[in-house]
Amino acid sequence: MAPKPGSFSTSIPYEEKKLKIVGTEPADRPDAVDKVTGRARYAADYNLPGQLIGKVLRSPHAHARVLSIDTAAAEAVPGVKAVVTRDDFPDMAVEHAASGELMINFKDVTRNMMAREKVFYDGHPVAAVAAVSESAAKKALKLIKVEYEVLPHVIDVEAAMQSDAPILHEDQFTKGVDPTPEKPSNIATRIESKLGDIEAGFDQADLVIEREFRTKPVHQGYIEPQASIANYTDGGQVEVWTSTQGHFVFRAQIAKLLQLDMSKITVTAAELGGGFGGKNNVYLEPLAVVLSRKSRRPVKMVMTRDEVFRATGPTSGTHTKVKIGVTKDGRITAGQAELNYQSGAFAGSSVPMAAITVFTRYDIENVLVVGHDVTCNRPKVAAYRAPGAPMIAFGVESVLDELAEGVGMDPVSFRLKNAAREGTQTHYGPKLGPIGFVETLESAQAHPHMQEKLGPNQGRGVATGFWFTLGKETSATLNVGEDGTVNVIMGTVDVTGGGRSALAMVVAEELGIPTEKVRVKSGDTTALGFNFMTAGSRGTAAGSMATVKASRDAIQKACEVAARIWEVETEEVVWEDGHARPASTNVGDFEPLSLADLARRAGALGGTIAGHAELDVAMGGPGFGTHIVDVEVDRQTGAVKVLRYTLVQDAGKAVYPKFIEGQFQGGAVQGIGMALNEEYIYSEKGTLENPGFLDYRVPVASDVPFINTEIVEVPNPMHPYGIRGIGEVPIIPPIAALSNAIYHATGVRLRDHPLSPPKVLAALDEAAPAIAAE
C-alpha cells in the first residue's frame, strides 16, 4: 500500500537560499570515462582465484509438479563440484517484507529461486550446478533427471481469474473479500480505494464513458544480465559481489533464506548496467552462496539473455476497466476503475501501488478503484519504473481524451480544469501538498510543440503521469581526507549513473568546496547502516537527505577543530563559503580556515573530520508530468512513426539538469518502446517465444525522435533543496499519449497493447466501414 512515513522519520524542511553548485552543470561525471573505456567493473567482471561457474537448470513446463530430481549422473561429470536442488534450502513460512516498491513473501521467494513442490513457469529454476567450466556445468545440467507431472497452465490474467482456471496455489484464498472464500483462487487479493459516493458522482455527470484495456507484460530490458559471484569461506564468511539495486536488502534476504547471521555476509553492489526495478530481487545470489558452501570454491553465475527474459521479473500483463463521468462544462464528477494485474507465479504484483495512482492527478470527489492481484504461470513480476502505473494511465488518459472531445474541450484545458493541486483530497488517503502538476500542464499548453502543424495521417496526443518519492532507511558516511578532499560512502546504488554526481554536488554545496573535491562511492554492507532498495525514485531525493545530514555533521566537527585552533568555543565558529569563520568580531580577529587547512590539522585536534547519517527519510514530494507526442500512421502498414515528443515534469529542484533531462528522455523512450512493440509472447504450451532482444523489440535510436524536455521546479517542502524523485514519472504517460495521438491521426482508438503495426492495421481495418459510413 501507500508508503507511510513513520513517526520517527526524518525530513529537513525546504531552505530557500542562493545556490552555487546545485542546479549547475559540472563538467565531471565520475563514472563516465570508465564506463566508456570498459574499465568500470560490473558484477560479471569480478573474478576470484579458483572460481567455479554456476548454471541453473530451468523448468521447460509452465506448470508441473516436481515428482523427483535425480542428480547422480550430473555429479559424476568430471569437473562438477556441486549440485543443489530444493533439498539444499530450508523451507520458509509466510513472512512479508518490502523489497523496493513491491512486497515479497519469503515462503514464495525461496520457491521462486528454487522450485519446491511445483514449477510455476517456463524458466523456473529446479537445480543448479557449479563446475570448473561452463561446458562442464552445461553437460551436467543435461544429465539431471527431473520427473514432472505436467499440469494445465494459465497465462493470461482474464483466463486466470475464471473460476474454472487451473489453480497455481491450492492454499491461496482471495484476501480482501468478506467472507473469505472456501475455494482456492488465482486471485490472491482484492483491494479497494474509495472516495465520496460513486453512484451519486455518476448521477451528476452529463457524459459517462466506460472502456476496457489490455496490456501485455513487458520487461525492464536492462542491458546487463543478472550476475553474481559468491565466496563462502571455510571460516564461515560470505562475500557476494552482485548486480543489484539494493545490496543491504539482498544481504537481509540471503541471511533469511539461508538462515545466516547478517554480520557474516558482505554484499557489494557492483557498477550497475541498468535495473529499472528489475534488480530488486535475489535470483542467483542464494544459489551461488550455497554452491560455494558445498564446493568450498567461489562460484560465479551470469544469466544468459534468454534466462533474463524467462525468469526475471517482467511487469504485470493487465486487464483494466475505466469509467469516468463529466458534466457538460467539463468537470469530472466520478471515476471508477477495475485493475486486474498479473503477479506471475506468486502473489504480489504492483496493483496496490497502481491502484493509488489511478485518479490522483485529478481532483475528483467520487472515486471507486478495485484491484485484483492475480497469479498465473509466468515469472513472478518485478517492479519496473513506476510499477503498474503506465498500464492504468493508458486506460484513464484514453478515456479522458474521449471525454474532452465529448464536451468540446482541448485535451490540456480539460485536464487543467480538473487538475489536482495543493490541498486536493486523494482517493488513497492524504491531501496533496505543494505540487507542480498545473505548472506542467500550463508549460505544455504554451510549448512551441503545440503550434507545430500536423499533416495528413498525423495526430497529437497528450497524457499525464504521477508517482511518489520514496523515503525509507538511508545511511551515508563522509570522511574528509588530510588534504581536504572528501570521500562520501553512500548506501544507495547509483542506478541511474547520475546518482554519485548529484550527491557529490549536494555535499560540495553544503561544504562550500568544488564538486571535483568530492568523490562518492557505494559502500558494501559492512560500511554503513541499513539502506533500503534504491527504488521509488529515491536515489537522489532520499540519498541527498542523508548526505546533507552527514555534511552538516562534518561541518560541526570542522568547526570544533577551528575552535580548538583559535581556542574559542565551538558555538563561536560558523561555517561559510567553505571556511570556518569567527561567528562575530567579538570572537576575535582570526583568518578564516578552509576545509583543507582544518583537515591537515584535525589529526592532532580530535581526529578525522567526518560525518554520518542513519535516517529513516520521510516520504514526500510526489512528481507530476505532462507529455505531448505527434505521430504519423502509415495506413497501409500500420506503422506508427513518432515525429515529435515533448515532456514537461516537476523535478522540485534539478540538481544536475542534464541528468534530469537524461532521466526524462530515458523514461519516455522506455515508455515509447513499451507502447509500440514490446511484449511477452507465449506459445500455447506456455513457453516464452521471444526471449531475446531481436524478437523482444525495444526501440533503437532510429525509432525515436529527440525528446524535448522542460523542467518545472516546485520545491518539495520536505527536502532542504526541494528535490523530488524524478526517475519514474516519465515512463507513465507514453502508452496513453501515443494511443491518443494515433486516434487523432486516424480516428481509431487502440485499447489493446502493444500498438504494433499488425495491431494498428487490424484496428484500422475493423474501423474502416464505420469511418467510411461517416
Binding site: S135, L694, P758
Partner: protein, 336 residues
Amino acid sequence: MDALPEFQVLHPTTVDEVVAARKEHPHSRMIGGGTDLLVNIRRGIEAPPVLIDTGDLQELKTVEATADSITVGASVRLTELAQHADVQAHYPVIAEAAESIAGPTHRNMGTVGGNICLDTRCIFYNQSEWWRTTNDDCLKTTGSMCHVAPKSDGVCFATFSGDLAPGFLLFDGEIDLIGPDGRRTVALQDFYTGYARQDGSTGDGKNYMAIQPGEMVLRVRGKNTPGLLTAYDKVRIRRSIEYPVAGCAVALKRDGDTLSDLRVAFTGTNPRPVRLDGTEALTGGPLTEETFTALDDLCKDQLMSMKTTFTPGHYRRRVATQMAKRLVQRLFDEGA
C-alpha cells in the same frame, strides 16, 4: 550469453587456398563477417570445427558497377556496397538494400557473400539450444517435424530474409562459384532452391541453396537494361537492427505513358527470395487500377504467409504487396 564452442579459424589469402582448405576440412564453414553464422554457433545450432574467413581474399573485394553490368565480390562489406558511388548511380536498388541491412556495425562486418548465403529463419529455429530442446527440435535441425506446418511432411518453411538477393534477381543475376570440381556459374534464380514443394522445386527452408559441399561464392553479377528505374523498400517493426518483415525490389521502365518493363522481387516471405512471375503481362499499357489489381493477384499467388516470424504471415504478405505497389507508383511517377 552462452559461451562459444571451440573452433579453429583459417585466414586464406587466395581462392585456391580456400579450395584446398575446404578439401582438407570437409566440415569447415565459410565465414564472412560472421554476423549470422556466429549467432547460430552461439545458439548451438551448429558447431563447425573450422571456420574459413573470407576477409583476406583481396580478389573478392572489388565492386564494378557500370551502366551495363554490376559485379560484386563475395568479400565486399555491406557498408562499402551501400556507399559505392557507381552502385548508387546505376543500381540504387542494391545500394538501398545494402544500406537497410541490420545496423551500422553489422554492415561494417557483414559481407555480400554472407548475405547471399544467409541462412533461412524461423521462430522455432533461431532460438537457444535450451529453447529448441524444450520445444522438440524441428526438422531444420535434428527433429522430425515442422512446428509451423505439422502436416508439411518433411518440408521446412523457414524464411529467406537476405536483402541483397531481390535486387540482383531484377537484373537476372548470376553467381560465380568455386569448389573441388572447379568454377561454375549459376543463375541466381536457380541458386535458390527453397520455394517449398508447391511449385515442384526440390528445396525448402532447410535446403535453400544449390551450393555443393566444398563450394564457395566468389561473386554475384547482374546485367542492366537501359532506362530501368529501380528502388528498394522494406518493412521492419524496428527501424534498425532488425531483419526484414518483408523487403521489396522494383525495377520498371516508362515510355511516355506506357509501362514497358516491370520486375518485382521480394525477400522475407518465402524460403527463397522471390522474383515475381508474370509481371510482363502487366506491361505494354498505362499504369492503372487494373495493373495494381493484377499485381495484387500475383503476390497473393506467389508469396507465402506461414507463421515463421512474430509478425503474422498474412500481415507480411499484405505489407509486401503494399510496398510493391507504392514503389511501382513512385518509380512510374519519377519516370514521367
